[in-house]
Amino acid sequence: MSKRSNDGTIDGDDPTSGSDMHQTQVAQRHYESNGQGELTTAIVYAIAEAEGVSPREVKSPPLYESVDVPSIEDAFFGSDVAGGSRQGIGTVEFQYTNYLVKVRSDGWIQVYEQTETGLS
């Protein structure tokens, strides 16, 4: 058993492990998996709302470089395969610039602003 490092990076299992990080939800958006749009777009729109800019102004880095969105889409919203649904249940979290983004299998995308509450 190895201990998780506590150097401020976000671990997939426990994003709140850094005790000096405070999270405030700043935006949320619902992704309709049967709608026209893509999950990537929905996430970028949510981030844009959090930043208070137009989606076109969310530029760097491309979401592609931060997280494998097609895999999330496949796991949570993928089409059925022989034998039944493959829809996973859960939440995927990743960091994009100074935001923590959570994508839930019910389609909700939540964006949290992370602020340091000071050194202990």
Partner: protein, 149 residues
């Protein structure tokens, strides 16, 4: 092991071309960029546009793809439709095609051009043609602007 030896067959097998000689050229075997590039409808649309012209501004591409997807002329594309496609190209499909060396992207001018693997992807697109993507093929080969009036 002897069984029923057939000298003729054995001989012909021995002298037949070595496996290497029967393989197609290595470039044909590199099918991964083709699959990866064409594995999503929007990337197929994007690659179709590259058949037409090898240089595109991201904005023009978004307009064209939005027009195709919504089956409207380019001038009827709404800002919302254009923005949705623009964002998905910028954050998902263009970086993917850059990874596969199919396109290059100039961030300053937001211009897309063809890259090393574009040729085989476009060849594959032309080869599969209408059989896989009737609508996209039709769209790609028609000039929406001509139909406006």
């Amino acid at each position: 092991m002897a069984g029923e030896p057939d000298p003729d067959e054995e001989a012909s097998f021995d002298v037949s071309a070595s496996p290497e000689k029967q393989l197609p050229p290595p470039s044909i075997l590199e099918i991964e960029p083709v699959y990866e590039a064409l594995g999503h409808p929007r990337r197929r649309y994007l690659c179709y546009t590259l058949l037409e012209d090898t240089e595109w501004s991201l904005s023009d591409l978004a307009t064209k793809i939005a027009a195709w997807e919504n089956e409207v002329p380019e001038h009827a594309v709404t800002e919302d439709q254009r923005e949705e496609v623009y964002v998905s190209l910028y954050h998902a499909h263009v970086p993917k095609l850059i990874d596969e060396d199919v396109v290059a992207f100039d961030e300053a001018t937001e211009t897309i051009t063809t890259a090393e693997h574009a040729e085989q992807v476009l060849a594959a697109l032309e080869g599969m043609g209408a059989s896989l993507d009737t609508n996209q093929e039709t769209h790609a080969r028609s000039d929406m602007d001509e139909q406006e009036e």
